[in-house]
Structures are given as structure tokens and as C-alpha cells.
């Protein structure tokens, strides 16, 4: 499927914000056999004093900008045309959970894609006894790693309500878990925490979701802003599989990836707040429309 994606993020400051520096991860990635960026453009207003581009540790596209003087507002406009391949049919060849550790021990790598990065705690995903106990119960009967991932995602989707008002970007995952309310970021962090606790390496994917569903399908939650879902490592044979716990589905043709990392810390779309004495207001809008090829 081919999509035209438009993302707008605006920050308005109450008063002038002192000179600042941002790291932006807003542009879709090109992923072999899955996702291809045909064209992408990122416009920043006002025009930054400096702008440069690099790939970060996890191979995400990363734009760095800085301002010299004070600004009242900043706006980021990202436009991209992206081809997204449909999901291949999936056969479960993942090992039992108990055998995953043994397979991991045969992997002598800390390259970006190595599952070892996604096993322990990370900046936004600390260990949680509550989530661990819950996950152990849910996955107790799972015959395979893939099944455990699916079961955990489904269980969380069943128990937890999508609620944009319930949490903020910095709400700890345990708090969202306790309330069983939250947005895609909370669903994703809780799932990552649960999967790691049962021994499955798991990471965070940021991206976009198709705004208007194909005929006959329901509109997906999280399409109005940047979306997040989970990638889980399901053994040597299957490798990385992506699940969207907010919508209880595999991430497939409707999901376009921007960045991957251990958690939100590694993929935050806009890093580096400007210093300001007053408050600030953020607005974000996303439009992802299928275009005929």
C-alpha cells in the first residue's frame, strides 16, 4: 500500500523561550522488504540557525537543529510518501519461552538489531513486580514465544482502556498499569515490561497509523497522533515480530515505522525542550492517507 503522510507538531510558548537545541525523529524509515520511503521532507519554522542529519545507534534517522536567539513558537511539518508491504503469512516456529534464553546465548553481538539491548531495564521501562506477576500468570500456559507475545498483548488490550486524557507523556508505566487506562505509549511500555519479565526481548516502535480504514473495517485507535507499538524477538528462527497492543493486532500494512529503540527515550519524536519561564502548549496532527499506485 502507498501512503501520503502529513505530520504537524507545534509548540507555542507563553513568552519567549531561550535558545534551544532539538533532536528530531519524525521521518519514516526505509526497511528492506517492508517499507520504502519514496519522498520525505521536513520543514522547521522558524528556520533553525543550524541543522544537521545523522543516524543514531539504532539506525534511526535523526535531525539535529538549534536556534541562536529566543523563539515564541516552533513548528515541524513532515510530509512523506511511503510504500508499505503487506504482512507475509506467519507460521509459528518460535521456541518455548524456556528455550529462548539458550538461543540468546548463541548471539555474540551488540549491533543495533541484537536482542540483547532489549532484555533488561531501560530508561522508561524499569522492572515492575506488579507487571511481572501479571505477565507470568498470563503467559503461564503459552506453548510458544509467539503465542506468549500474542496472549500478553490481547490480555492487556482486554483489561486496559484507551483514554487520551488519563496519562501524560511522562506517566510511569506502573501507574498507567494500575489504573488500566492510557494511550498507545502506555500500552507499549507495559507490554515491553511484561515481555522482558518473561524473558522475551522487546522494544518500542514509533510511527504512523492509517487514518481512514479500508471499507468495512473499524477506525483504529491512535491514528490522530504519532503511534507506538511493540517489537518482540521470538527466537533465532522468527526474529523480530511487531505487535500493536493498543489495537490488539500485528503491526502490518496499516503501520508505518519511524524509529525503533528500547523505549520512548530512544525514539522520542522531539527531544530537547526549550527553556522558558512560562508554560508551553503542544499540538500535534497526523494524516495518513492511502493513495492509488
Amino acid at each position: 500500500m502507498r501512503y501520503d503522510i502529513t505530520l504537524r507538531i507545534e509548540y507555542a510558548y507563553d513568552g519567549l523561550a531561550a535558545a534551544g537545541r532539538h533532536l528530531l525523529r519524525l521521518t519514516p524509515a526505509t526497511l528492506p522488504d517492508r517499507q520504502r520511503v519514496i519522498a520525505a521532507d521536513l520543514t522547521v519554522t522558524p528556520t533553525p540557525f543550524e541543522r544537521s542529519f545523522a543516524y543514531d545507534f539504532f539506525d534511526n534517522r535523526c535531525v539535529s537543529i538549534s536556534y541562536e536567539g529566543a523563539v515564541e513558537e516552533t513548528a515541524f511539518l513532515m510530509k512523506a510518501r511511503v510504500d508499505r508491504a503487506p504482512l507475509e503469512p506467519l507460521f509459528d516456529v518460535s521456541p518455548r519461552l524456556g528455550r529462548l534464553a539458550g538461543e540468546l546465548e548463541t548471539m555474540f553481538s551488540v549491533a543495533a538489531d541484537s536482542p540483547h539491548h532489549f532484555r533488561g531495564q531501560s530508561p522508561r521501562v524499569p522492572p515492575s513486580a506488579e507487571v511481572s506477576e501479571w505477565a507470568a500468570r498470563i503467559a503461564a500456559e503459552s506453548p510458544s514465544t509467539l503465542d506468549a507475545v500474542r496472549t500478553i498483548c490481547s490480555a492487556l488490550h482486554r483489561e486496559m482502556a484507551f483514554d487520551p486524557e488519563a496519562t501524560a507523556v511522562d506517566t510511569p508505566l506502573e501507574e498507567a498499569f494500575r489504573a488500566r487506562h492510557g494511550v498507545c505509549q502506555d500500552f507499549t511500555h507495559i507490554t515491553i515490561c511484561a515481555l522482558r519479565s518473561v524473558g522475551v526481548p522487546a522494544g518500542y516502535v514509533s510511527g504512523f497509523l492509517r487514518t481512514i480504514p479500508p471499507k468495512g473495517s473499524a477506525r483504529l485507535e491512535g491514528a490522530d497522533a504519532m503511534h507506538a507499538w511493540v517489537r518482540a524477538w521470538c527466537g533465532l528462527e522468527m526474529g523480530w515480530i511487531e505487535f500493536d497492543p493498543t489495537n490488539d493486532m500485528m503491526a502490518g500494512e496499516d503501520h508505518v515505522t519511524v524509529a525503533v529503540g528500547r523505549d520512548y527515550f530512544d525514539v522520542a519524536p522531539v527531544k530537547g525542550a526549550l527553556r522558558t519561564a512560562g508554560s508551553q502548549e503542544t499540538t500535534q496532527s497526523v494524516d495518513m492517507v492511502a493513495v492509488s499506485t
Binding site: 534551544g20 537545541r21 540483547h116 527531544k271
Partner: protein, 800 residues
């Protein structure tokens, strides 16, 4: 029968050693394994034993006094609180024979090479992981392995430049590495201060003890730092987390000792991927940073987002190769306890050599075989966090020692299986004992050494000395300074000493004057406010004294002048009477806070004068009564503020920083005097106001001499506002500010004169040409407004 060897020992030190108990199965620094005093100690013990009780007391007191005078402290953390503590000096030095020291040094230089190669691998090709020497999982879980630094090559080819090692001597007499300090090791400056203090105590002994000197080590490391600059005009900065850090004293001390610029994260900025320092002459490039700040806090953009101590964009500048970081960000990864388990194989793999000095036996519990071994030998293991960077005897909250948990219950071995990858086990250490002086006698206490290793042009150099931590009881665990352990100087004793070394260049060529290093804007700001607060204190003290003198003379408060004075004090935020001292104590503490931020920039004596002023005031606050008692107390305090001013004026180098201090003082005095004159020369001012003005202006005698008639408004205005010869007059302040400002840097846009200078000159001219009679109430208001604008103009021009 007497053993002839025993009989040959001089008995002189017998009484010193009468309570020295060595522990069975533990090595000792004073006695060798045959129970004989090691030769290196003999001359020292003989000299020590020759001192009588008084002489010994005096010797120890000289050492302690030195540290107090130098203001050496470290910060001690307790729950939710931290306090400054005196440096815990154990007066007796630890003596090591130079041959043995050479072996230690050689082994540690080899270890430094291994660590450098490990850094290059962890942040480069990752062969250690690929070849299975270091588990991938362990490196990936290491919070100090900084992903943004992977692939970033250090500008001068080296990741590590300054290291410290904690080592201890095991029961077999061999040395073991207890911990590697690779991130931002502290203690080198404390080692130097400890040396100074110990020399004060035993100077007569030092001279014949052939103790190796420390200065050469520092000189060579300074040369290394300077040599990595981009030419003579670029800068080396020491990056500190600031005065609230436990070793801030050392940062300011080292900066002063080496003549390097001390900065905090907010002083730095990144422009076009280059690191700059904000100075009073604008942004200036920095090409070498010696950081005393843990990596996590250096760049809020790519590392810890909540850091207020860092500089956004710093990692980008490193990636761009625009400056050298000492040590490279991410070097903290090497401090991780679990990594020690793999050091022997890392050494073989990276350098083809076994470790010359082993480290303490360590097992990472991520592997099944290791877990089984640890479970089978619980009785001689300490189990703690795998990622801990503390020393072996500095335990975390969930430590398991000898198979028992912190609440002293036996450990369930299943716990190790459950938390395996998060745990590292180490063999319980038995440190050697060394002598400590307790009530005039020597006692055996556990000790470990901290040894410093730095990079020079020709390879690693090892500081010939360092410091030893001495436990306060015979338990090894009590060695940490945070728990009350003490620190002693380490004397490496050679058969002959080299020439005395100091940091100053000697001989050869004319003395070279180093240029006045650029003054960071925050330092300028702090010096300016220090000047203001001290002057503010001084002025308020004068007003308070005037009030209490009158109170003592008349016994009453309810006449117009007393009321006016009391009102004026209140408008300045202080009570004339109850409580007498609270208001000025606040100003004094503000002065101390500002001074604390710039301790590298003014003298220890001046600092001590400020501390003394505050402590005395706090003491007075407890017991001084209003009236005569108070007026005498204020006189005492005024002599102390004058003492501070004198130290600054007489002893401080006329640097840019000194000028900001001077401007602060003059600006404050201008403002305070203007405000005061407006009130006390007003038409409705009460009787006696003019006399009071002359008194507060410290000009009673001058007035008597200059004006035959009594005080009038004109004479007061003349003397306190317009007389350029009176050091308390406003015109005198403006002349001083104008003079200071002429030495300050001028930016390109303001070639002729800054807006600050222009305002000062306008005021100065207006006063210089005015007659007392022309200065009516409106003119005073205008002048007071102009005076109030000076701080803002100064900040806009220099401190932005």
C-alpha cells in the same frame, strides 16, 4: 635464649608499638611476614618515637591546622541532607619502599593499557563480544555503556587520560586491584593536600625520609592537557557539577593549582558543533575538557534529559571531533563490578599478556556454571549488584555477605538463579593492616590505596604516592570515608630523592607570564554579587550600629530619628531590634553562596574571613542584647567586613574577576548611599538626620575638619555625594566603577564604549560638576534611578 635478630632491633619504638595487634592470617604494612619491622619504616619510627607527647601533639595539630586554614572539606551525604565535613586526616603517613612501588606502578600501567584497549573495542569493533570474551548481555545492560558514543573516535586517539586504581594487599602479601576508576576519578587534589598537611606535621622527618615528590606528576599531566589544545589561544576547562558535589573543593583546588579554567555545564554552549565557553568577552572556543562530572549528566539532549548540569549538544560536538574529553564519555562502563570477572581474559585477548596485578576474584552470575560455583562457596562471597561501581567493601542495599542477607538471615540460593544477570559475586577481601595513631600509640587498621595514573607525552605516569584509606576499626568494611574512615598520605621512600619539584618553572629563560584566562560569565556574575552582598552587609551593619548606639545613649525608641531609622531599616528588609541579626545573616549567607561558586578565584584567607564573619554573627545572634551590647557587636562585625575588604584589596591579583568584585561593591555602595540620602536629607527629615548621615558615611572626623560650621544638608550632600576624595561618597564609587570598566573587554559592536560605561560616565560627570545646592530631591531621585539601572546594564553587556 634471645633470638639474635630480635636483639638487634633498636628498642626505641617499643612503647609506640605496645598496643599494635596484627590480625592472624592478614598481611601488615609495618611488619613483614617474619614479624620484623619493614626496613622502610625504621628511620621514621625512630624519629617518631623520639618525639615527646607534647611535640607529637603539636605535630599533629600543625597538620590539622593546615587543612582547616586551607578550607579542605568534603561533602558528606546523609538521608536527604548533606554537610561539609573536615577532611578526615589520619596523620600518620603510609610508607612504601620505592622498589615495591615500582612494581605496583608497572602493573597498573599495564592495566591502564588493557582498559584503553577495552574502551576502543567497546566503542568500536566489539571483538570482545564477538569472540565471547565479554557476554553481549552484560555490555548491553551496562548503564554506562553509552550508545550515542558508539563509533565516536576520540580526537587525539586515546579514550583514557586520567585513571585511579584502588588496590589492597592480600594475605599472601601480593597486591590486588579492588576497583578501576575510569570515569572521572577524584582524589588527586586531596592527595596533594594530604601531602601538604602531613608534611606540616613531620617536616623535620620528611627531609631525611627521601620521600618522592608529587608535583612532577601534576606538571606532566597539565602538559598533556595543554598539548591537546588547538594552539595556544584555545582553552582547557575543568568541568564541575558545582559546589553541591561531594568533591567540589577538589575541583576548585585543582583548577587553581594547575591554572586551568573551572566551568559548570551552563557556562558552556555548542555553536556549529564546536564547544564554547561563555565569558565576559563573549563565546570563546574550548578544545579540552577535563570532566569531573559523570557522563550521564553531560548532555541532556542525548543522555539524561533531566540533567541541569550539562550542555545540550556536547555529544554532537564530540562526534564532530571539535574537542577532547578527558576521559571519553562512556568510560564509566569499565568501572562495572561484573566486568572484573572478565578482565583476565580481556587482557590476554587485547594485549596478549596476563594481568600483571590480578583483580579481586569476581563471578558474574549471568552464567549457570558461575552461579553454581557461587552457590557452592557462599561462605566466602560478597554478592552485590553486577552493575555496581562501588568498591568491594562499599556495599549496596541488598548485599549478601558470607551467605547472609542484610537482615542476617541465611540466603535462599534460588535468589541467585532468579536474579542471576543482575548479580556479581566477589571473594570476601581481607585487606592488610597499616598503623594509625590512636592516643599516641600505633594501632593496626585495614587499609587500601588509591593510586593515580595519567597519560603523558611518553606514555603513562604514576603519581608516586596518592592516599591510603584507613579503617576506623579493625573491620575491612569500615574503610569508606562516608562511614568515618580516615585518609593518610602515602610516602614512597627511595634511596635518594630527586630535586624538589614544584609546578613553577625553574631556571632557563625569562619568566613567562600566562595570560589572564577568560572569565566565565557565571563566575563574573558570582563575583559581582559577592561584592554586592558583602557591601550590603557592611552598610546595614552601620545603620544598625547607629540605631543601637542611640538606643544605648537615650534608652528610648520613640523619638523621630529612631523611628525614621527603624523605618528605613525595615524598608531594607531588616528589623532594627528583634530579631537583631536575621536580616544581615541572610545577606552573609548569600555572600557565602556566591563565594562558594568561585572558590577557585579568590584566596583561602578571604574565604576564611567570610566564614568567620558568618560564624561570629551566628554566635552573636544567640546572646547579644539590644543597645550597648549590640552596638559593640556591630563594631566587631564591621571590623571583620573591613578585614575581608582589606584581603581582597591588598592581596588579590587585578584580574577581570577582581574588577567584577570591585564593581559589585561600588554599585551596591552607590545604591545604598543614594537611597539613604534621599530619606535622610529630605525636607521632613527628623532632627539629627544630618549627623546620622555623616556617621553612617563613616565621615565624622573628616566633616569636623573640613567644615567649620555644624552639619547641614549642604555639607552632608557635599561630603557623601560629591566629594571625590571621600572613599564613601557616591562620586568616588562612580570613579572606581569607571576605572574598573575601562579594563573590561569591549565587543566589536561597541568599539568605543559599552552602554554600562556610558551610564557610569554620565552619572560621574553630573556629580563632578554639580554644586550641593543644585542637588534637590528630584535630582536625587533621578540619580537613584540611574544607580538602580547599573546592574541590569552590566548584566546585558557582560553576563548574557
Amino acid at each position: 635464649m634471645t633470638d639474635p635478630k630480635q636483639a638487634a632491633e633498636p628498642p626505641a619504638w617499643d612503647s609506640l608499638l605496645e598496643s599494635y595487634r596484627r590480625l592472624p592470617g592478614i598481611a601488615d604494612e609495618l611488619f613483614d611476614s617474619d614479624g620484623r619491622v619493614r626496613p622502610v619504616w625504621r628511620p621514621f619510627l625512630r624519629d617518631l618515637a623520639a618525639l615527646n607527647a607534647d611535640e607529637l601533639d603539636h605535630a599533629l595539630a600543625r597538620g590539622s591546622q593546615y587543612l582547616r586554614d586551607a578550607g579542605v572539606f568534603f561533602r558528606q551525604y546523609a538521608a536527604g541532607d548533606s554537610t561539609e565535613r573536615d577532611w578526615p586526616l589520619s596523620h600518620l603517613p603510609l610508607l612504601i619502599e620505592s622498589g615495591e612501588w615500582q612494581n605496583i606502578a608497572t602493573a597498573l600501567m599495564q592495566r591502564a593499557d588493557v582498559l584503553e584497549a577495552a574502551m576502543a573495542d567497546f566503542y568500536g569493533p566489539n571483538r570482545l563480544v564477538a569472540d565471547g570474551v565479554v557476554p553481549a548481555r552484560l555490555l548491553a545492560a551496562n548503564p554506562e555503556w553509552l550508545r550515542p558514543m558508539v563509533g565516536v573516535q576520540p580526537r587525539h586517539g586515546h579514550y583514557l587520560h586520567f585513571l585511579a586504581f584502588d588496590i589492597g594487599r592480600g594475605p599472601d602479601g601480593k597486591w590486588w586491584v579492588l576497583g578501576d576508576r575510569t570515569q572521572a576519578p577524584s582524589g588527586a587534589g586531596f592527595a596533594l593536600e594530604t601531602r601538604m598537611a602531613t608534611s606540616r606535621s613531620f617536616s623535620s622527618l620528611t627531609s631525611n625520609a627521601n620521600v618522592m615528590r608529587l608535583a612532577g606528576f601534576f606538571r606532566r599531566f597539565r602538559d598533556t592537557l595543554l598539548g591537546m589544545r588547538d594552539g595556544e589561544s584555545s582553552r582547557v576547562a575543568i568541568l564541575t557539577p558545582g559546589p553541591l558535589n561531594d568533591t567540589y573543593f577538589e575541583h576548585s583546588y585543582i583548577a587553581r593549582y594547575l591554572g586551568l579554567m573551572l566551568v559548570q555545564g551552563a557556562d558552556l554552549a555548542v555553536r556549529e558543533n564546536r564547544l564554547m565557553v561563555r565569558t565576559v568577552s563573549g563565546l570563546q572556543p574550548v578544545s579540552v575538557v577535563w570532566r569531573r562530572l559523570d557522563a550521564e549528566w553531560t548532555d541532556p539532549l542525548e543522555l539524561n534529559e533531566s540533567s541541569q548540569l550539562g550542555t545540550p549538544g556536547m555529544i554532537g560536538a564530540l562526534r564532530n571531533g571539535s574537542f577532547t574529553m578527558v576521559n571519553a564519555l562512556g568510560s564509566g562502563a569499565l568501572e562495572t563490578r561484573a566486568l572484573m570477572a572478565f578482565m583476565p581474559r580481556m587482557s590476554e585477548m587485547l594485549t596478549g599478556q596476563p594481568l600483571a596485578m590480578p583483580n579481586i576474584a569476581t563471578w558474574w552470575c549471568g552464567g549457570e556454571a558461575e552461579r553454581d560455583y557461587v552457590k557452592a562457596h557462599l561462605d566466602r562471597m560478597t554478592i552485590d549488584s553486577a552493575m555496581s561501581t562501588r568498591l568491594p567493601f562499599d556495599h549496596g542495599p541488598n548485599v549478601v555477605i558470607g551467605g547472609r542477607t542484610v537482615d542476617d538471615t541465611p540466603l535462599d540460593p534460588a535468589w541467585i538463579d532468579e536474579h542471576g544477570p543482575l548479580l556479581a559475586a566477589q571473594e570476601v577481601v581481607s585487606l592488610s593492616t597499616a598503623p594509625a595513631l590512636v592516643d599516641g600509640k600505633l594501632q593496626a587498621r585495614p587499609m587500601s590505596l588509591r593510586v593515580f595514573v595519567a597519560r603523558s607525552g611518553s606514555g603513562w605516569v604514576v603519581m608516586p604516592g596518592g592516599f591510603a584509606r584507613i579503617g576506623h576499626s579493625s573491620e575491612s568494611a569500615d574503610i569508606s570515608m562516608q562511614r568515618g574512615g580516615a585518609v593518610s598520605d602515602v610516602w614512597v621512600v627511595s634511596d635518594n630523592t630527586g630535586p624538589v619539584e614544584t609546578l613553577l618553572e625553574t631556571g632557563g629563560g625569562a619568566a613567562r607570564r600566562t595570560r589572564d584566562a577568560s572569565l566565565p560569565s557565571t563566575a563574573a556574575d558570582n563575583l559581582f554579587w559577592l561584592g554586592r552582598y558583602v557591601e550590603r552587609t557592611d552598610f546595614k551593619l552601620r545603620l544598625l550600629r547607629a540605631f543601637h548606639v542611640r538606643l544605648a545613649e537615650t534608652g528610648g525608641r520613640d523619638y523621630p530619628l529612631a523611628a525614621a531609622l527603624s523605618d528605613h531599616l525595615e524598608s531594607l528588609g531588616i528589623e532594627a531590634e528583634d530579631p537583631i541579626f536575621d536580616g544581615i545573616l541572610e545577606d552573609m549567607r548569600s555572600a557565602l553562596r556566591s563565594a562558594g561558586q568561585v572558590r577557585d578565584r579568590f584566596s583561602t584567607d578571604a574565604w576564611n574571613a567570610l566564614v568567620d564573619l558568618t560564624r561570629t554573627t551566628e554566635m552573636f545572634a544567640e546572646r547579644v542584647r539590644p543597645g550597648d551590647d549590640a552596638s559593640r557587636a556591630f563594631s566587631v562585625l564591621l571590623r571583620k567586613t573591613s578585614g575581608f575588604a582589606g584581603l581582597v584589596h591588598e592581596n588579590m591579583y587585578r584580574s577581570t574577576g577582581w574588577r567584577f568584585l570591585g564593581i559589585g561593591r561600588a554599585v551596591e555602595r552607590t545604591g545604598a548611599m543614594m537611597t539613604f540620602l534621599r530619606v535622610f536629607t529630605a525636607e521632613d527629615a527628623p532632627d539629627g538626620a544630618m549627623d546620622l548621615a555623616i556617621e553612617v558615611g563613616d565621615s565624622v572626623m573628616t566633616h569636623r575638619r573640613r567644615y567649620a560650621a555644624g552639619t547641614s544638608r549642604d555639607t552632608a550632600i557635599d561630603l557623601l555625594l560629591l566629594d571625590d576624595m571621600n572613599p564613601r561618597s557616591v562620586l568616588h564609587q562612580l570613579i572606581a566603577i569607571d576605572d574598573h570598566a575601562s579594563y573590561l573587554p569591549v565587543s566589536v559592536e561597541e568599539v568605543r564604549m559599552t552602554s554600562f560605561q556610558r551610564r557610569v560616565l554620565e552619572m560621574k560627570t553630573a556629580l563632578a560638576t554639580a554644586a550641593p545646592r543644585e542637588i534637590n530631591a528630584d535630582r536625587l531621585d533621578d540619580l537613584a534611578n540611574d544607580a538602580a539601572s547599573l546592574t541590569g546594564l552590566l548584566a546585558d553587556t557582560y553576563l548574557g
